[in-house]
Amino acid sequence: MASRGSFLTALAALALASPRASADGPFVSISESVTWQDNITNAPSGDGIKSAFGLESGADVTWLRSLDFSTLLTAGVAADAHVCPSYGGLESFSVGSTAEVRRKLGLGPLAPVAYAGLTGSATGYVDPERSNIEGDFIFGVSQRLRDDLQVALDGRLGSYDARDIVFSGNFASLGATLNWDVNETWRLKLMGGWRTGDTVANYAAVKSPYGWVAVDPEAQYLPGAWHYVRTFDEPFVAWRESSRTWSYGAGISPALGRHTSLALQFAHFTSEGYGRYVDNVVSVSLRHHF
């Protein structure tokens, strides 16, 4: 915990120190999104599957600083608030910072862009067991194939450190996105991804005179920690799922002007392994750059 705290402190210091007088910015963006998730608990099956709406508002401020003719250092701070009307324990507020180096490998719009950076955040949940700090290493590359066609590959290696051990751990993800700008207004998106390190919660415990007892005794022998969670007002146990989760999705994103765009996206997640689960997520998002 202490080492992750030091990491976040150093990251915040880097992000705040970078925007010097010669830097460009600040650039401010805000975003709003509404999300429907049909398996918010990532439960494998049965009564443990719960669905819910989520509302999220975010704002971020970034500065840019040129390291050389083709390399930019981006530093930023961000804040997000998440509201979940069905399960108050999932409501959260987070603050974070990012420092990222982005390099364009050539001249012109068709030159590939590579980036790598560090992000960190601290998130407080209404359900205090979930409150965590997170540190990530992010990296990726994007390539514009034509003026209207772009492919991007993104990766993330991260670590959560939460108050409850079941919500702590490491994770990794890789994703690919294809953006096709059909015309000046409409963008179509195709997405695919892979990740490992999810948390699974399932209706797998009953309250006995002796405390919470797992309905499925084998759940106690699942890889990683498992623990009773109170978030869903029912006797849920949660454990970390170390198997892979694959995802695919699609979306449309109309531009509402030079600085604003809307997006409607669908994503399907399927995990492998003992706690196999399926989750579908639909979101409507609005983003505005000032």
């Binding site: 975003s31 012109g108 953006n179 000046e184 531009a255 997006a263 994503a267 997520v281 998002s285």
Partner: protein, 214 residues
């Protein structure tokens, strides 16, 4: 003799010598709508005409992370400056055969002055903001004009004679040219229909969405 009176006499003599005419070019697309930002120019078929670049450089400004103007016609040898009026650095470049150059990251007034010394179209970009695009059309004739929003351009001060009228536009499909004759002190109107490719620019709007999934 006063200096102003001498200038008036010189100007009168010049007008008398040329009795200049004007070619009004009206550009329309396939749907009959006016085409803005087209460069209309004429090339003398009687004798070559020397071009003289202006003494002052032409400015192409960067404002709100866009180039202004979108199309700039100039003659060969013209110097161009690229003042940056944004609060963000730009990296102006061209990889066009008629002029390759780059002005790496700067803000405010750039000390770089680019001389466009070969005729032809030059595409400008910013290596930071890929959606920024503009065009310089370098001409080896002094007789040209750019169409406004109404699709009209007046090429004036033309000595009488035979000319070839041509039109260029960043999205022009094919080449447009026709012969025109300018009579002494006469005005000629030419309606030019052009076929334009679709306007496919890199989208500037931010990327929204992304499922933040944990």
């Amino acid at each position: 003799m006063h200096r102003s009176a001498a200038l008036i006499l010189l100007a009168t003599a010049a007008l008398g010598a040329h009795a200049a005419g004007t070619v009004r070019v009206v550009t329309k697309d396939a749907a009959g709508k006016p085409v803005a930002d087209a460069v209309a120019y004429v090339i003398s078929l009687d004798a070559p005409v020397a071009v003289h670049p202006p003494e002052e450089p032409v400015a192409i400004t960067q404002r709100d992370q866009e180039f202004d103007p979108y199309v700039t016609p100039i003659v060969v040898g013209t110097r161009v400056v690229f003042p940056n009026r944004d609060n963000v650095q730009h990296h102006v470049y061209s990889v066009s055969p008629a002029k390759k150059f780059e002005i790496p990251l700067y803000i405010g007034e750039s000390t770089a002055t680019i001389v466009f010394d070969r005729p032809g179209p030059v595409t400008l970009g910013c290596n930071i903001h890929d959606w920024m695009v503009a065009y310089v059309f370098v001409l080896d004739t002094p007789y040209f004009a750019k169409t406004g929003a109404d699709g009209t351009a007046d090429i004036s001060n033309l000595p009488p004679g035979r000319y070839r009228l041509e039109v260029w536009h960043p999205r022009l499909a094919g080449k447009v040219g026709l012969e025109v004759t300018v009579v002494e002190a006469g005005d000629t109107t030419q309606v030019v229909s052009v076929t334009l490719r679709p306007d496919r620019r890199i989208r500037r709007a931010p990327d929204a969405g992304g499922v933040d999934y944990k």
